[in-house]
Symmetry: none
Subunit: 260 residues, 2 copies
């Protein structure tokens, strides 16, 4: 595993000082890849000052326009979140997050730790682009951590997981949690999953199962279901193939003809 396969994504950050503080916390913990989604003020001397020497991380930071672009190539995204959301999602504490992230990175995948706005956090839509939510166990009476502090805690747990594994590196590789058997196929990336969800949504509209005027929580529930399945590429091809055939059926194309 390399800690470099863990990217830190900061969404719509208000204060450049927090971006600098996050960069410093990352570098302290051996993380290097920072992605900024629509930052309000960057680059900035305040970010440089708070980075305290972690300026290489700021200089190499990638700036993108939306969370989807930030997650391209990631197999797993972990969204930091306050506790109660209307649709419960797989919820981890920072230590569990590091363990799940580590398992993925050990297989060569990339993962993202996603942090929201200082005052408003991540939107529900952004949270639903993440396969897991992470909650830092804070005092419910005073629960909102400084952004750089939150990056520090998740980065610290990532480093602890990495160090533990380094200590155990002479042990045989274990693939615990991989319930797919010995095939060892890799799970698809976030962007492939997003394309699947778009295809699924359109298909559900085509067959009349999803009413675009009243979508309710249908897509959220399906996102949560498929998000936790660790779908590999062969499975994704099957699922996409089913959708394509379903759409043809909805258009009234008899399938006998499709076999010609």
């Amino acid at each position: 595993m390399s800690l470099h396969n863990i990217r830190v994504v900061l969404v719509n950050t208000s204060h450049p000082g927090n971006i600098g503080g996050a960069a410093r916390a990352m570098k302290n913990m051996g993380l290097s890849r920072l992605v900024l989604v629509d930052p309000q003020d960057f680059p900035s001397p305040e970010a440089d000052a708070r980075a305290s020497g972690a300026t290489d991380i700021l200089e190499n930071a990638r700036v993108v326009g939306c969370l989807e672009d930030a997650l391209v190539g990631c197999r797993l995204a972990f969204g930091t979140s306050a506790r109660d959301r209307r649709i419960p999602w797989p919820l981890l504490d920072p230590r569990e997050c590091a363990s799940v992230a580590y398992d993925e990175v050990a297989k060569g995948g990339e993962v993202a730790l996603v942090f929201g706005r200082e005052y408003a956090g991540l939107t529900n839509e952004e949270l639903q682009r993440c396969q897991f939510h992470v909650h830092i166990p804070s005092d419910p009476e005073f629960s909102s951590l400084n952004l750089a502090s939150a990056v520090q805690v998740l980065g610290y747990e990532a480093r602890m997981a990495w160090l533990q594994q380094q200590g155990a590196s002479d042990r045989p590789q274990k693939s615990q949690g991989d319930e797919r058997g010995e095939e060892g196929l890799e799970r698809v990336t976030s962007d492939e999953l997003e394309r699947y969800f778009r295809h699924l949504e359109q298909t559900l509209v085509d067959i009349g199962f999803l009413d675009p005027q009243h979508p309710r929580h249908l897509m959220s529930r399906l996102r949560r279901l498929y998000g936790r399945c660790a779908i590999d590429r062969v499975e994704m091809n099957i699922l996409r193939g089913i959708l394509t055939e379903t759409q043809k059926a909805a258009r009234g194309e008899p399938h006998k003809r499709r076999k010609d």
Copy 2:
């Protein structure tokens, strides 16, 4: 154990902003007792600003002249330290520190987490007043954490130790391996899953995706995929509903009519 038996001691802090940031991190983690040894600028509006509402901790902070005074009444002191000191000392990582501290506090004792100056840390004399040294495992190439971040990490581990001891009573019960979040729905039974697979198989035949004469491994792969998803009842109803609508589409029923 009460987290209130853990005091945070900041020695000779230069920047009042760091005192405020430390107060915020403490309050986030449920710690309340701050002791300042000879702070260079306190009280200060900058400390208040960075405390972001944790002003009660600043107002109740005790200011003393030397570390010895700060430690009065403590059974154990943990001094944060870079790794190599000339005199080797019992060295803990933050998790071990929380565990040792917890054992003492559980017996009714008070303990102190001691943090040094921003640039120079603790002197050897100060470190030798501590029974244990704590090292936050940072990248050796860039090892100096922001003071408030260091307080955050040790406070986080203290809270994790406390929560574990509480029996995680602060968190809703979740069964292991249940990655569905906190809704607490049970996964469907094997026979419900079997009925789903039969329905799925028939639907795939209906839309022409599965050739009953040459099924190959299609259903095996789908069984493995959905079998590992721990599908709950609400999700199963959605999946079954999608199949039913797909079958109607395959029969050529326009879905507008189905809504009448």
